[in-house]
Symmetry: C2
Subunit: 97 residues, 2 copies
């Protein structure tokens, strides 16, 4: 089933449950901070494995101990539930769960 | 020995030998394109290993099959030989050498 673009109201409601995420335009974004580059890359490896598994690939920016994920859904030209599902997965991975 | 900031002329001379690299401000940058996300991540893993080995960490942006490396040297507040050395290493890794 093709992903459905969420309305602004729907996006805002979901962001309320994810306080570390923001919406700079037509994507949702969070920057994670780790102890060092090695820990940051360990997180990136997990994110990459998940991205391939679910075939939904965030943009990933690595700046030494910081990793920024940006999520949007090309198939719907905006933000969909897939982005929020991935955001929650990434938060769980960053928390070591 | 602390890295020395290169002059604009010195940076330009080195960029002449690295046509795929540009200089958007106080860093040098190249975007590599791969077959897919898996190949892009394989390159990122190599870059990350090298970065830790030489303790010089590029900013790394992954956008599915594209990887952008941005290099600058904090210790000198600009671009140094370390950046060009890493750029050449990364080019060799991307070429599978």
């Amino acid at each position: 089933m093709a992903p459905v673009k969420l309305s602004d109201t729907e996006v805002e409601a979901r962001l309320d449950t994810l306080p570390d995420w923001s919406r700079p335009g037509e994507e949702i974004q969070r920057t994670y901070r780790f102890k060092d580059f090695v820990e940051a890359m360990a997180f990136v490896a997990k994110v990459a494995d998940r991205a391939e598994a679910v075939q939904h690939h965030p943009d990933i920016l690595i700046r030494w101990n910081r990793v920024t994920l940006s999520l949007s859904t090309h198939d719907c030209g905006g933000i969909s539930e897939k982005d929020f599902a991935f955001a929650r997965d990434a938060d769980a991975m960053a928390a070591g769960r």
